[in-house]
Amino acid sequence: MADILINVIIAFLGGSLLLGLHRKIMARVQERPGPPIIQNLLHSLKFFFKETDYPKTASMPFYVGIIFILAVVWVIGVIVGPVTENSLLILFGVYAIYKIVEHNAGSSSGSPYGKMSCVRAVLSAATELPLFAAIVLVYAPTGSMNIAEIISYQSVHGPLVLSIPLAAVMFFTLLLTKSPYSPFAITKGKDLVTGYETEHFGVLRGFLMFSESVAWFVLCWVFLTVFFGPISIVWLIIGLILISVVTGFINATTPMLSPNHAVMTQITICAICFFATILMIII
C-alpha cells in the first residue's frame, strides 16, 4: 500500500513537472519567456483550495463521479505500470476507460463546449488503434504482454526500439496525442475553450489536472520501459525529459488539426507502421 502511495505521488509530482517543462519548451520555441517549470504543479494544487461550483445544467451525481473515476483509472495505471509491471492489456483497458471518461465528462456538464468535446472524444478513440497495434507488435517478438517479462526479454535480446522501431513510432504518436496542445488533441481544441474540462471548477479541476499529470508520467514510463528495456533511473529521467522536450517542440510548431484530419493522420501512421513492421518481422 505504501509503495502504491509513494508511486502515485511520484507520478503526480513528476508528471506535473514534466508538463511544466513541456509548456516552457513550447513557450521558448514561440519566443515567449513562459511560466516556471513548477507552474503546472502550483496550478493543480491551487484548484484544490478553490471554491467548487456546479453548473445548473450538470447531470448530478454523474458530473462529479466521472472525475473521481478518471483519477482512480490513472491510479490503477500507476499500479499496473511502475508498481507491479503487469500486463500491457490492462493498460490498454485503462486507456480505453480514460477515453470513455473523457466522453462522459464532456456530456455530463451540459455545456455546448463539453458536448462538442464529448462527440470528438468518440472520434479520438482512433488513438487507441496505434496503442493496440503497438501492443500486438510487441507481443510478436516477445511472446508476452507482461511488462516485467518484456523487460527481461530486452535484457537478453536488446531494446525493442531497435528491432521494431515503427511500433515505437506508433506508441510515440499516442504520447503526442496525449500531450497538451497536440495537433491531435481534438477534444481540447481551442475552438472548444478547454473542451470537456470547460465546466469543471475548483476541486474537480484539481482532480482533472492530477489525472493528466499521472497519465503523462505513466504513458511515458510505459513507452521507455517497453521499448528501451531495463534502464537505470538516471536514463529514465533523461528519457522522460527528452519526450517532454520533443513533444513540446512538435506541438509548438504544428497547428491543431481538424477532427477529420487528426483521425485520418493517426490511422495512416498506424497502418503504415503496422504493415511495415509485419514486413520487417517476416523478412
Binding site: 509513494i6 505521488i9 511520484i10 513528476g14 513537472l17 519567456p33 513562459g34 516556471p36 517549470i37
Partner: protein, 102 residues
C-alpha cells in the same frame, strides 16, 4: 522509491522557495542580460552535489533543493546560472570519474 520521492519533494519545495525569493528581489518582468552572483553560487553548489554526491541521500536532497531554487526562478532569471552550474559540475564529474578514476 522513498528516496526518489524525497528528492522530488525537496526539488519542488526549493522551486517554490526560489520562485517566491526571485519575485521578492526582482521587480522587472523579464531580464535577459546579467548574472546574479548569489544564484550562481547556489546553482554551482546544488549541481555539484547532484552530480557528485550520489552516495548520500541527504546531500542529494539538499542538492535538488538548491537546483530547484535557481531553476524555477521568475521567468528570465536563473537560466544562465543553471547552465553554468550544469557545465561546471559536469566537468568536475568527468575529472573525478575519468581522469582521477576515483
Amino acid at each position: 522509491m522513498l528516496d526518489y520521492l524525497i528528492y522530488l519533494i525537496t526539488f519542488v519545495v526549493g522551486s517554490i522557495a526560489g520562485l517566491l525569493w526571485s519575485y521578492k528581489i526582482h521587480s522587472e518582468p523579464y531580464v535577459i542580460e546579467g548574472i546574479d552572483a548569489k544564484s550562481l553560487v547556489i546553482a554551482l553548489v546544488g549541481w555539484i552535489l547532484v552530480f557528485n554526491c550520489s552516495w548520500s541521500w541527504i546531500l542529494l536532497a539538499i542538492g535538488f533543493f538548491l537546483v530547484g531554487f535557481v531553476l524555477c526562478q521568475r521567468p528570465g532569471y536563473g537560466r544562465k546560472e543553471t547552465a553554468i552550474g550544469i557545465i561546471v559540475s559536469g566537468v568536475i564529474y568527468l575529472i573525478i570519474h575519468f581522469i582521477l578514476m576515483v
